[in-house]
């Protein structure tokens, strides 16, 4: 069965420190990969995406993610966390040209930022 796993439900990080959010997927084929961010009470905003090519992807707000096919992972990184990064982060995958072009989401990781 297709699945997306975000192993960390909560992460607390100090402002200025680095952050890595994990995402693992289980799919029969190479999927499209996405990271979304949701600030409290808000909708979802796309941070970055991977379709093909360079496995290190740059996104908005200084985020980056690395696709590792051998590990079925697409981890998100933020080299220097800002207080405004406190939010919930969702990894999502979608099969290329699958019926309905549906996305499957992980359970989310909530990030708390300490001053």
């Amino acid at each position: 069965a297709q699945s997306v796993t975000q192993p960390d439900i909560h992460i607390t990080v100090s402002e200025g420190a680095s952050l890595e959010l994990r995402c693992n997927y289980s799919y029969g084929a190479t999927p499209y990969l996405f990271w979304y961010v949701q600030s409290p009470g808000q909708g979802l905003q796309l941070l970055l995406k991977y379709f093909s090519g360079d496995t290190l992807v740059q996104g908005i707000k200084g985020f980056e993610a690395e696709f590792k096919r051998s590990q079925s992972s697409f981890n998100l990184r933020r080299p220097c966390v800002h207080w405004s990064d406190a939010a919930e982060y969702f990894c999502a995958v979608g099969l290329i040209k699958a019926a309905g072009n549906k996305l499957t989401f992980g359970g989310g990781t909530r990030v708390l930022v300490k001053p």
Partner: protein
């Protein structure tokens, strides 16, 4: 979010009553989706549409129906609301052009409480 509007933003309803949520887009996109968001589950697909009068079920479709009589509107109906349907509901539209993000644009969400 630009081009997609959900209504109402908040609703409290009683168990057993029917409820309809509306998603309206101005982007003329073919694909529209309804997701529900619950803690620990991320977003789960309820139903989606790939054109006027063309809809299909997602992974959590029981107790929900949808209709799409116009390109711009996608309605989600809870036939007889239950407490387990208390959730935040997100509508999304998808732009299939790879010149943009290929991913989804989400509405701001509808918080539904069933008492």
């Amino acid at each position: 979010d630009a081009g997609i509007t959900q209504s109402p933003r908040h609703k409290v309803t009683e168990t057993g009553t029917p409820v309809t949520l509306r998603c309206h887009q101005t982007e003329n996109h073919r694909y529209m989706y309804w997701y529900r968001q619950d803690p620990g589950h991320g977003l789960r697909l309820i139903h989606y549409s790939y054109g006027v009068k063309d809809t299909d079920k997602g992974e959590v479709s029981d107790g929900y129906s949808v209709s799409r009589s116009k390109t711009e509107d996608f309605l989600l109906t809870l036939e007889s609301a239950t407490s387990s349907q208390t959730s935040v509901y997100f509508c999304a539209i998808r732009d299939p052009s790879q010149r943009t993000n290929y991913g989804y644009t989400f509405g701001s969400g509808t918080r539904l409480t069933v008492v």
